[in-house]
């Protein structure tokens, strides 16, 4: 029986779609069978980030309306074995789908795949309830800024009320330079507020934007810092115990400076 994991955040633009595409691909590269599900009905873009836009014939809406079988609506990613996409309908909106219908789809996918990753839309309304309806676990993505964190906090409360557990945190667009000069919150500050388990930190990486535009998830070319971070998170999702590297560590001088800063 596979795991259904919702990738969510509250705030838009923090990296849910990027994370879903990269973690899905990374898990497939680790020989898992994976379906990534776009739950952003009406504003879909997971297909673009995955580079599968041109191949979509059916969407989850067609499955719900019994226009086609679930297995037929899954688009196979030809670059790696075991990776599928279930696209969202672009012409409908979030209220056209009921949470129970999403749950039914997840329950089916769970029986045939190791991982089902659901790319949630921003917000706390119907789109979020649909995306999380069938989830066993959650990955909350946040950037290290107060407004994204407050929204993540709100979402964590809702996930806890829905008894979705565990809830793991990804800190995205982390910049050691900005933390170093005091203009970005560090990992400890974020965790102090959100108080859930950290599953990974993805650094700010200009390769992310390039890869989004090319429709090739970062993890296919594993040289970049972002790709390596996503690979590590994927390994952690499969149960491997891999330490989170200390992005903040930048030589002795910086450590001493930080030590003085903390003392103040």
């Amino acid at each position: 029986m596979g795991k259904v994991i919702v990738v969510t955040s509250g705030k838009g633009g923090v990296g849910k779609t990027t994370s879903t595409a990269n973690l899905g691909t990374a898990l497939a590269l680790l020989d898992k069978t994976v379906v990534v599900v776009d739950a952003d009905v009406g504003l879909r873009n997971l297909d673009i980030v995955m580079g599968l836009e041109s191949r979509i014939v059916y969407t989850s809406m067609d499955v719900i309306e019994k226009q086609c079988e679930l297995s037929k609506a899954l688009v196979r990613d030809r670059r790696v074995d075991g990776l599928m996409l279930l696209a969202a309908s672009q012409k409908n909106n979030k209220d056209d789908i009921q949470p129970e219908q999403m749950k039914a789809i997840c329950d089916k996918l769970r029986t045939t795949h190791d991982f089902v990753l659901i790319d949630s839309p921003a917000g706390i309304e119907r789109g979020f309830s649909n995306a999380s309806a069938g989830a066993d676990e959650a990955i909350v993505v946040t950037t290290p800024d107060v407004s994204a964190i407050r929204d993540a906090d709100r979402i964590i409360g809702l996930l806890q009320n829905a008894r979705i557990e565990p809830i793991n945190l990804v800190i995205n667009r982390f910049s050691p330079q900005l933390v170093g000069n005091g203009s970005m919150m560090d990992q400890a500050d974020v965790l102090d507020i959100l108080n859930i388990d950290l599953i990974g930190i993805v650094p700010e990486d200009s390769e992310v934007i390039t890869s989004t535009n090319r429709g090739i998830p970062l993890v296919y070319e594993d040289a970049s810092a972002g790709a390596q971070a996503y690979m590590r998170i994927a390994r952690r999702l499969t149960g491997q115990r891999i330490p989170i590297p200390d992005f903040e560590q930048k030589g002795l001088l910086n450590n001493i400076m930080n030590w003085f800063k903390k003392k103040k």
Binding site: I124, V146, I156, G157, I193, K264
Partner: protein
Amino acid sequence: MANPIVALRAYRDGLHLIIRPHLSIAEVEEAIQQEISRMNRSLAGTSVQIVLKCPALEEEDISLLRSKLQETYDLTVRGVEVADAPVLAPIAAAPTMHTISPATDSRDSRDGEISRVVPHTLRSGQTEEFPQGSLIIYGDVNSGSEVRAGGDIVVLGTLRGNAYAGMNGRLSAVIIAMDLAALQLQIGNYVTRPTVNEKPRGYPEIARIGAEDVIIVEKFVKF
């Protein structure tokens, strides 16, 4: 009208008793008496910092003031400092611990009052209201969440959200947090925006209505 010789001011670290130039210590005592009687609430059990904006006082004048404040008004002197004169060391050592008691009057008896325990962190968007008594939170009150109580609010974690104690108008209600980092506090119909610190202070703080009818926030030691 403002007293020309002494002023009582509430600051974040508690009450300050400011003493300006004067002719005799008797004049200062009289001014203190006037200033305290002008307050419409009791200061008993509070502590004050004496701030000298006048030529340094004799050691014996200070101890006279200290015992006078203690005996007549139940006000403990936390310390004495000379304002605007950083070169001079404080002339009397400050007691490091002081006791705070809320300005309770008989109408505010809490006998038989119940409290509610919230055994978890409150996250953004979550609220907890308990008009019948006090609230105790075993966790944080995060930014974007709100707690309201008829009585006191005690947060055994970090208070970042909004806290409203004494929501039915009880002015003796207090807010205590292990780390008080709220942007806004309300007690009865008084509101304050405490100064926010980058780093936690490392000690619990209490917010309550003090002299001059403003909410003061100070280190919490014990009642």
